[in-house]
């Protein structure tokens, strides 16, 4: 029994994963990852909402620009985009800083991560939300118009709540992608969960332990997200008879 325990190195693992040691680093990495995923998802939502409205109701120029944005972002591999956006972004900031007489600026990793992933998320969110807005029965929007609601109020009180049930499944996917895409930020040296794991693993040679632990953390994030989104979806679908019970 003890032999098996030793064989798997679990005793050693427990020690390695202790919070004061590498385990703490992993959790800090997770916190960073979540922070970025959260920010990027939020930024993506904002971009997506403007993008969707722009695509649906904007003028020709707006629509063309948005088409370029969503097409390019969705065509280029995310890893490449992250490298481009990260280096282009920091380059621009430094150019501006130098032009204004300042020196080189240290780019805040979290902010950079949010901006890079947010731009990527925004492209997908634009499409998710555009589809959801189009799925809202026109009659509901007409009713709002016919009772004198101004355009912004219609968006806030009718279109957005009514489109939620169509948007939530797609947005849940986007959120999970956001949590996983944070791992790609390792290439620009950002201390998120994957990079922390790699460092811990290579320093201790306990690859199996650390990557298993990281995998477990990602799994927990997914499971918790699933539970949260299930509730959100239930709320968004209020007023709609369930598909299961409603087969009459």
């Amino acid at each position: 029994m003890t032999g098996l325990f030793e064989l798997l190195g679990l005793g050693a693992s427990a020690e390695l994963l202790s919070l004061s040691g590498w385990g703490g680093n992993l959790l800090r990495g997770l916190a960073n990852s979540l922070q970025i995923a959260f920010g990027a998802f939020g930024l993506g939502l904002v971009i997506g909402l403007f993008g969707a409205y722009g695509k649906l109701y904007g003028g020709k120029v707006t629509r063309d620009l948005l088409a370029i944005y969503t097409t390019v972002i969705r065509a280029v591999p995310e890893l490449v985009l992250i490298l481009i956006l990260y280096y282009v972004g920091s380059d621009i900031i430094n150019k501006i800083s130098e032009a204004m007489g300042g020196g080189r600026v240290e780019i805040n990793g979290v902010a950079a991560g949010i901006w890079v992933l947010g731009v990527v998320q925004g492209a997908y969110a634009t499409e998710v939300l555009r589809g959801a807005i189009k799925a809202v029965p026109v009659g509901q929007i007409e009713a709002a118009k016919s009772y004198g609601m101004p355009a912004f109020m219609i968006m806030r009180r009718v279109t957005i709540p009514a489109m939620m049930s169509f948007a939530v499944p797609g947005l849940a996917n986007l959120w999970l992608i956001a949590t996983k895409d944070t791992a790609l930020l390792a290439v620009v040296g950002f201390n998120e969960l994957t990079l922390e794991t790699r460092q811990a693993a290579s320093s201790t040679r306990a690859y199996f332990t650390f990557f298993l632990a990281a995998g477990f953390l990602y799994l927990m994030v997914t499971l918790c997200s699933g539970a949260v989104f299930a509730r959100v979806e239930k709320w968004a679908r209020r007023g709609q008879p369930s598909l299961k019970g409603g087969a009459r």
């Binding site: 009659g139 009772y147 004198g148 609601m149 709540p161 009514a162 007023g239």
Partner: protein
């Protein structure tokens, strides 16, 4: 300005004030001219029934009145206030049209209740958010109105859980909640199962009896004859014939109206 002269020329001399006036209304969808110059006046308390074949432009006319559809040309005057239009027929002043729309409550063929809101929320939505009525007051009034249309106790139900007739009655309560100066009905019973038509007509009949101004597009000829005091027959975008129901239904002049009436009878 001379007030005496103004008074003499004002429509106050007609005891009933004008609610809706449409002059020379044209509407085209692309090359298809759907309305070819419609004139119509409804005074306060009038119940105007609009009848006509499918595609004759009844819905389009009703929708032009509150600018859900942009007229191609013409003039629309609501409660004495002319809607300022641009050259292309679109309202020049969005605020004006929004204000006028709150006085014209529309009831749709497909009810168009907001499905993510309960009946109570549907009824208080416009009073609270558009008309800025205090919420408690709006809720009290909503209870009254829902009771009135026979939906007391259904306040917290979502529209999808109700029958078509109940949904349409809720939509009528929503319309009444804005205290409209005129109501626009577009075939309010056409989407209903036959056994549910009666309950909705009863509510509308009730409203007519209390002197509500309404424009009512309908295929229910018997009902139109009973509640309307003016009937308009639309044929291919023009008013072919109009008058009191007894005249229009009892003694139709044009062959088209005769044919139409015999086809729907």
């Amino acid at each position: 300005m001379d007030t005496a002269a103004a008074a003499a020329s004002s429509p106050e001399t007609d005891t009933r004030r004008e609610a809706i006036r449409v002059e020379d209304l044209h509407k085209s969808f692309g090359n298809l001219e759907v309305l070819k110059g419609v004139d119509l006046t409804a005074h306060q308390g009038d119940v105007v029934a609009i009848i006509g074949g499918s595609g004759s432009g009844k819905s389009t006319m009703l929708r032009c009145i509150n600018f859900l559809e942009t007229p191609s040309s013409g003039k629309i005057v609501i409660g004495g206030e002319e809607v300022v239009m641009r050259g292309d027929g679109s309202p020049a002043n969005q605020k004006q049209i929004e204000r006028i729309r709150t006085k014209l409550a529309m009831v749709f063929q497909q009810f168009n209740l907001w499905t993510h809101r309960t009946l109570l929320e549907n009824v208080i939505e416009v009073p609270v958010h558009v008309l800025k009525v205090p919420k408690a007051e709006a809720i009290a009034r909503a209870h009254e109105l829902l009771n009135r249309v026979g939906l007391g106790g259904k306040e917290d139900t979502y529209p999808a859980y109700l029958s078509g007739g109940q949904q349409q009655r809720a939509a009528i309560a929503r319309a009444l909640a804005v205290d409209p100066s005129a109501m626009l009905f577009d075939e309010p019973t056409s989407a209903l199962d036959p056994e549910l038509v009666g309950e909705v007509l009863t509510v509308i009949r009730d409203l007519a009896a209390e002197g509500r101004t309404m424009l009512l597009v309908t295929h229910e000829m018997k009902f139109a004859r009973e509640v309307a005091n003016h009937v308009v027959y639309l044929y291919q975008g023009r008013i072919e014939e109009q008058g009191p129901p007894a005249e229009v239904f009892g003694n139709p002049q044009s062959d088209r109206l005769k044919q139409f009436l015999s086809s729907v009878a």
